[in-house]
C-alpha cells in the first residue's frame, strides 16, 4: 500500500512536470527581436539595449520563471540566462507580452539577460524550459538594420507549409516602423486590432441577418435532432432489453410467444384492474399498531441554554 502511494505520488509529480513543460511549449513564443537599438525603446536605466519580446498565447496567465534564454546551446546550461524565481512580474497575463533586455547585465534586474545580441551577425535565440532540454521556441534572427525588428506577422502564430515545416517567410517579417502595418511594438500586439473581425464580417456580408438565422437554426436543429435520434435508439434498446427481462421472468420466450400475450402489452387499465382484483382478493390493509407512546425527552444541561442565565434578573422588592 505504501509502495503504491509512493508510486502514485511519483507519477503525479512526473505528470505535473511534463504538463508544465507542455504548458509552456506552444503557449510561450519569441515574438519580436531587435538586435541594434539606436533610437528605439529605452530601458529603466535610460539605455537602449537590444531586446527580445516573449508572448503568452494562452487564455490564462503563464509563469515563466526558471525558463532559460540563450543564444548558444552548445555552452553549459549554467551559462544560459535563467529567468529568476520569486518575481511577480514573470507571470505573463493571458495573451500578453514581456520584454527582456539583451544587455549582458543580469545584475540590473530580472529582465536583463546575461548575454548580448550581436548586431553584425545572425543570432540564434533559444527559449528552453526548466528541464534544460525542451526547446520552447527558437528563432534565427538575420542581420538587421538599426532600429528594425524581426517579428512574427501575427502574435504567437507559426505558419506551416504543405509539408508541415515552418514557413519562416510567412511567419516572420522585418519591421521598420515606417511602412504601413510594419510597426515596432515592444510589449504590445504585433497586430493591432481595433475591431472584431467576426462582427465586421457579419455586418458586411449578412446585413439583414438571414444567413445567421439559417445557419444558426440549422445548428440548433441538428444538435437537438442528433440528441433526439440518440434517445430514440437508446429508448428502443432499453425497451427491448426490459421486454426480454420481463419475458424471462415470466418464463416466456420472446420469439415463440405471440405479440398480444407479451406482458408489457398490458394497458395501464388492465394492470390497474389486476391490482384492484388482487387487493380485493387478499383483502390487504395497512394495519397500524395503534399504540401511542410518549417518550420523555432528555436534554443535557448546559448553562448556554439555561433559562436561569438568559432571563433578566429583577432586583427583589
Amino acid at each position: 500500500m505504501k509502495k503504491f502511494r509512493i508510486l502514485s505520488l511519483i507519477a503525479i509529480a512526473t505528470a505535473s512536470l511534463t504538463m508544465s513543460g507542455q504548458a509552456r511549449k506552444g503557449a510561450l513564443h519569441i515574438n519580436e527581436v531587435m538586435t541594434l537599438n539606436e533610437s528605439n525603446f529605452v530601458d529603466d536605466f535610460g539605455q537602449r539595449p537590444a531586446w527580445i519580446e516573449l508572448y503568452n498565447s494562452k487564455f490564462a496567465p503563464l509563469e515563466i520563471s526558471s525558463v532559460y534564454l540563450t543564444t548558444d546551446t552548445t555552452i553549459s546550461p549554467e551559462l544560459w540566462y535563467a529567468v529568476p524565481l520569486h518575481d511577480v512580474n514573470t507571470r505573463i497575463p493571458k495573451r500578453q507580452h514581456i520584454v527582456f533586455w539583451a544587455d549582458g547585465m543580469p545584475s540590473r534586474g530580472t529582465f536583463h539577460t546575461s548575454f548580448k545580441l550581436d548586431p553584425a551577425a545572425v543570432n540564434e535565440i533559444y527559449l528552453i524550459d526548466s528541464d534544460k532540454k525542451t526547446v520552447i521556441d527558437h528563432v534565427t534572427v538575420p542581420v538587421l538594420e538599426p532600429n528594425t525588428t524581426y517579428a512574427r506577422a501575427k502574435d504567437g502564430i507559426t505558419v506551416f507549409d504543405a509539408d508541415g515545416n515552418v514557413d519562416v517567410n510567412a511567419t516572420w517579417e522585418v519591421r521598420n516602423d515606417i511602412d504601413e502595418g510594419k510597426y515596432i511594438t515592444p510589449s504590445s500586439n504585433n497586430v493591432i486590432l481595433d475591431r472584431n473581425d467576426k462582427v465586421d464580417k457579419f455586418s458586411r456580408l449578412d446585413p439583414n441577418g438571414f444567413a445567421m438565422a439559417v445557419m444558426a437554426m440549422a445548428i440548433v436543429f441538428s444538435a437537438l435532432a442528433v440528441l433526439c435520434i440518440a434517445f430514440m435508439i437508446i429508448s428502443k434498446v432499453g425497451a427491448r432489453s426490459s421486454k426480454t427481462k420481463k419475458m424471462k421472468s415470466h418464463g416466456l420466450n420472446v420469439k415463440e410467444t405471440p405479440r398480444d400475450e407479451h406482458p408489457e402489452s398490458d394497458s395501464g387499465e388492465a394492470i390497474a384492474a389486476i391490482v384492484m382484483a388482487l387487493h380485493e382478493h387478499l383483502n390487504t390493509h395497512d394495519n397500524e399498531s395503534t399504540i401511542l407512546t410518549i417518550n420523555k425527552v432528555k436534554r443535557a444541561y448546559s448553562p448556554w441554554s439555561s433559562k436561569i442565565y438568559s432571563m433578566r434578573h429583577l432586583p427583589g422588592k
Partner: protein
C-alpha cells in the same frame, strides 16, 4: 482668519447635503425607482414570477439611490471594490448563470422528453424567436454583436440572456436582463393570444397518448449523452450545457441526492438572490434610460412573439407528417421557449379551457426542457459566430 462657529456649521451641513440622495437626484432616478416599485408590486400583488421580480425590483431601488458619484464612496455597483461591484462580478464575468443552470438541471425531470424525443424539435423550432429578433434588431440599426445579445431574450431564459449579453454587449446587459425577466413574468399574458390565433378549435382538442414510463438507466444516460452530443456540436455552450446536464446527473444518479438537493435548493436560491439583486442594481438611471433600452424592450417583445408563434406553427407543420394517432396538440408549441415551467403550465391551462379532461402539462414539459437545451445551444452558436 479663524472660521466662525456658524459658518463651520453651515459648511458641514452644506457638505452633508451634497452627499444626500436629494441633492443628487435627477428625474431619471425617480423614473427608475418607480420601475422598481412597479416590479415589486407585480411580484407581490399579481404574483408574477415573485422569485425573480422581488430581487430585481429591489435591486433597481438599490441601484438608483442617487449619491455623489465624484466622492469616491465606493458604494455604486460600477465602482471598483464596492460591495455591490464584488457581487456584480458574478454577472459581469458570467459565472452566476452557469450556477443557475446547475440548479435547473438538478430540479428538472427530463422524463417527458426522454419518453418522446421528437418533442425536442419543438424546442429547436422555438429558437427562431432568437434569430427572428436578431434580424429585426439589425434592421433597427444595432451592430451584429449587440443584435445577438438582444435577440437572446427570445430564448426566454434569463441566465442565458445575462451570460450572452455579458460577453457580446456588456453595456446593454442591464436592459437585456430586465427585459428578459420582465417578459418571462409576462408569459401568461403574451402567449395565450398567440396560441389561440394560430390554432383551430379542432387542433386544440387533440389528445396525446400518455408518455411511457422512463427507466432509471435512461434518466442517467440522458445527461451524459446529452452533454457529450450537444457540447461536441457547440463547444461554446459548454458553461451552460455542461452545468445543466451535470445538475441533472446529480439528480438522477441516485447516489448524490444531497448534492442535487443543495444545487436545486440552497445554491439556486442564493445565486437567484444575488443575480436578481445585482441585475436590478445594474440598471442605474444614467446608463439605463436611453433610446436603446426602449428598442431592447420592443425587440424582446418581438422575440417572445416570434418564438411562441414559431413553436406553435412548427407543431402544425410536424403534424402533417405524423400518423393520425400520434398527432401533437399545437398548444404545447409555445412551451418550446425555455420559460420553465411557466409556458408548459400555460399549454396545460389553455388545453383544459377547451377540454377539461385534456391534461397537456407532461407533454408540454418535453418541449419546455428542450427549449432550455435549445436556447443554450443557440447561445453557444451566437458566441461562436460573434464573440
Amino acid at each position: 482668519m479663524e472660521q466662525s462657529l456658524g459658518s463651520f456649521f453651515a459648511d458641514n451641513l452644506q457638505e452633508f447635503w451634497n452627499f444626500t440622495g436629494f441633492a443628487n437626484a435627477t428625474w431619471q432616478h425617480f423614473v427608475m425607482l418607480a420601475v422598481g416599485l412597479f416590479f415589486i408590486w407585480l411580484a407581490i400583488k399579481k404574483n408574477f414570477e415573485p422569485m425573480l421580480l422581488v430581487p430585481i425590483g429591489f435591486g433597481i431601488l438599490i441601484g438608483n439611490i442617487p449619491f455623489n458619484t465624484t466622492a469616491g464612496l465606493e458604494i455604486g455597483i460600477y465602482e471598483e471594490g464596492s460591495v455591490l461591484n464584488i457581487l456584480y462580478n458574478g454577472v459581469s464575468a458570467g459565472w452566476y448563470p452557469p450556477l443557475i443552470f446547475l440548479g435547473i438541471g438538478a430540479m428538472t425531470d427530463f422524463s417527458a422528453l426522454i419518453a418522446n424525443p421528437k418533442l425536442m424539435l419543438i424546442g429547436a423550432a422555438a429558437q427562431f424567436g432568437i434569430f427572428g429578433a436578431y434580424m429585426v434588431a439589425l434592421a433597427i440599426g444595432f451592430a451584429p454583436d449587440q443584435a445577438g445579445a438582444i435577440a437572446i431574450i427570445g430564448g426566454a431564459d434569463g441566465p442565458t440572456a445575462i451570460f450572452i449579453s455579458s460577453k457580446l454587449a456588456p453595456n446593454l446587459m442591464g436592459a437585456i436582463a430586465v427585459s428578459a425577466y420582465s417578459y418571462m413574468a409576462l408569459v401568461p399574458v403574451i402567449q395565450p393570444p398567440i396560441m389561440r390565433l394560430f390554432t383551430t378549435k379542432k387542433e386544440r382538442l387533440i389528445r396525446m397518448k400518455p408518455a411511457r414510463a422512463v427507466s432509471q438507466n435512461e434518466k442517467i444516460i440522458f445527461p451524459i449523452v446529452g452533454m457529450l452530443l450537444t457540447c461536441f456540436v457547440v463547444p461554446s455552450g459548454l458553461p451552460l450545457l455542461g452545468m445543466l446536464f451535470f445538475g441533472n446527473l446529480l439528480r438522477e444518479s441516485g447516489v448524490t441526492t444531497r448534492l442535487a438537493k443543495t444545487a436545486s435548493n440552497a445554491l439556486t436560491d442564493i445565486v437567484t438572490i444575488l443575480l436578481g439583486m445585482t441585475v436590478g442594481a445594474s440598471t442605474q438611471a444614467t446608463t439605463f434610460l436611453t433610446k436603446e433600452t426602449i428598442f431592447i424592450f420592443f425587440l424582446g417583445f418581438m422575440a417572445f412573439i416570434i418564438a411562441s408563434s414559431s413553436g406553435v406553427l412548427f407543431v402544425k407543420l410536424f403534424n402533417l407528417f405524423l400518423p393520425k394517432d400520434k398527432k401533437i396538440n399545437p398548444l404545447i408549441g409555445n412551451a418550446g421557449v425555455s420559460a420553465v415551467p411557466m409556458s408548459a403550465r400555460i399549454s396545460n391551462n389553455l388545453g383544459l379551457e377547451y377540454d377539461p379532461s385534456n391534461y397537456l402539462l407532461m407533454h408540454a414539459m418535453g418541449p419546455n426542457v428542450a427549449g432550455v437545451i435549445g436556447s443554450a445551444v443557440a447561445a453557444g452558436v451566437l458566441l461562436g459566430f460573434l464573440a
